[in-house]
């Protein structure tokens, strides 16, 4: 009797959360898929489910450029975030000393301000009168003295907003490297570059993969940065989805586009799981 009860304990503990996630995460995915096969419009009042596969083709025909743009912007932002984050994470992990906690606090600090206000702050920083734009114009990086309402501004905003997602996993995996391994590399006459390439970089690979994924996924679905920092021709797929759902109430097309976005993200995600294992993403590995 007690052993049966003991075996049921984990299910009681997991139950409420799993039910919540099934009801309000998994089941809605099914309804989104279903809605993407509806035909008709809200205005005509003839919205109904009839396996209307054409929604997928029609919406892709109309909005494939926003899809491509989302992935290009997200890819560029991920790459820039990686270039900025790696040396920063390295410095915190190996050179931080007593400043380590303060530096980590600074990295997560942007999370303590509202996402929208952070993005609007960039609107201020990149506005035409700002000193930053003057400098960028002087060195020839901003054409016509404009930065706002360009692809560059959107990518810069995305890079900034998701940077902590890159820094933290990189830091966590770099911090775990035994400095003795790096010393050993130097003792064996490895040049600093060789030691980095053969020791540090491979050992930080889990953080690298996790960081790029955690930056890329929210970036690809983002529409706040494009909304505030971009022009109409910088619209990403997120802008289209929210516009179709909330303004034009073209639910079937909107659902089809979100479904495609989710499917593409899941492909990226599953490839990652194959590569790194789900345990790594959950932090389930026992720490040494």
């Amino acid at each position: 009797m007690t052993s049966v009860r003991r075996r049921l304990v984990p299910y009681f503990l997991l139950g409420p959360g799993i039910i919540w996630l099934i009801l309000f995460f998994a089941v809605p995915m099914y309804f989104m898929a279903r809605l993407s096969l509806y035909s008709g419009t809200v205005f005509q009042g003839n919205l109904q489910f009839d396996w209307h596969w054409a929604n997928f083709k029609d919406s892709l025909d109309l909005y494939h450029s926003q899809f491509v743009r989302s992935f290009i912007y997200a890819g560029a932002a991920t790459l820039i975030a990686l270039v900025i984050s790696y040396p920063l994470a390295y410095a915190i992990a190996f050179k931080g000393g007593r400043w380590k906690n303060a530096m980590l606090l600074a990295v997560v600090a942007p999370f303590f301000t509202t996402y929208l206000i952070r993005t609007i702050a960039w609107e201020t920083i990149l506005s035409d009168q700002s000193p930053v734009v003057k400098v960028l114009t002087d060195v020839g990086l901003a054409t016509n003295g404009h930065v706002l309402a360009t692809a560059g501004a959107v990518i810069a905003g995305i890079t900034y907003n998701f940077l902590p997602f890159m820094v933290l996993p990189l830091y966590a995996s770099l911090e775990r490297i035994d400095p003795a391994l790096i010393e050993a590399g130097r003792d064996l006459y490895g040049s600093p570059a060789a030691v980095f390439r053969k020791v540090t970089l491979p050992l930080s690979a889990p953080g690298l993969v996790a960081g790029t994924l955690l930056t890329f996924i929210p970036a690809a679905g983002d529409y706040v940065n494009a909304f505030f920092l971009g022009a109409p021709n910088n619209q990403m797929i997120g802008n289209v989805i929210q516009d179709l759902y909330l303004k034009q109430t073209d639910y079937p097309a909107a659902a089809a586009l979100s479904f495609i976005l989710m499917a593409l993200i899941m492909v990226v995600f599953v490839v990652y799981i194959r590569f790194a294992g789900s345990e790594a993403l959950m932090g389930e590995e026992a720490r040494p």
């Binding site: 600074a106 942007p110 999370f111 996993p169 929210p218 759902y245 979100s258 959950m282 389930e284």
Partner: protein, 288 residues
Amino acid sequence: MTGAWRWLREHAINIYAGLAIAYLLIPIAVIIVFSFNDPAGKYNFNWVGFTLEHWRNAFGISDLNDALKTSIELAVLATVISTAIGTAMALALVRHEFVGRRPANFLIVVPMATPEVVMGASLLSMFLIYGIGLGFQTLLIAHVMFCISFVVVTVRSRLIGFDRSLEEAAQDLGADPWTTFRKVTFPLILPGIVAAALLAFALSIDDFVVSNFNSGTTVTFPLYIFGAAQRGIPVEVNVIATLLFLTTVCAMLFTVWQQRRAERMTQARPQQEGEPAIPIPAGSAASG
């Protein structure tokens, strides 16, 4: 000269880290500085002059107050529910062997790897198909949903580094499982639970994308900002953002302090050299 050059070479990475951290903090500085601005028109983008007017009037805009009140109520409820549910799940995953661990893990990880726009859109699809009215209750459902995974990951990382001999000692001394949990386990993992609750609160109060889909006519703080963006955001928004920022930083420092104290008192988990005291949110868990 060569001395200066060598110094520069040795400290290059620290200087770089300093610059990267400055980059992370600049928008926050902009938000704070512009809360003292006295803009000429309705747009708070250019620095005009210093005033304390908006700090005195911080809670003088009734729409903004209502939105803030809604956001705080929502965040408190979402935090309480998701922390309770998520902690139970973390306990089940770390402490118990059971069939179905892999699918449970999967269901917890996938929401963290789903773009917010897809989560918002899929929930809205379900609410639309069932004809469920949007409002505070749908927002609460959504917020609890996206907070759960982050709570599980945060509490779980605390449970993994946990010395179980303390619990065994309690049981050897005749404590029943519930007493052991109440008197030993719970106080020890409390800092982890507090960190998770803080994270859930921050995620909820900051959420724009999912809320934008499922709010109906209910207005939260980020939704107020979005609505105000077109007609000019009042400076009071910057004041409140600054207050929120300071509150969160204080709460964070308090948690770190408490965690240190708990560790000192129990010596359950002697802090390792260089182990970060900052409870790293979100992606941290994703390190391998």
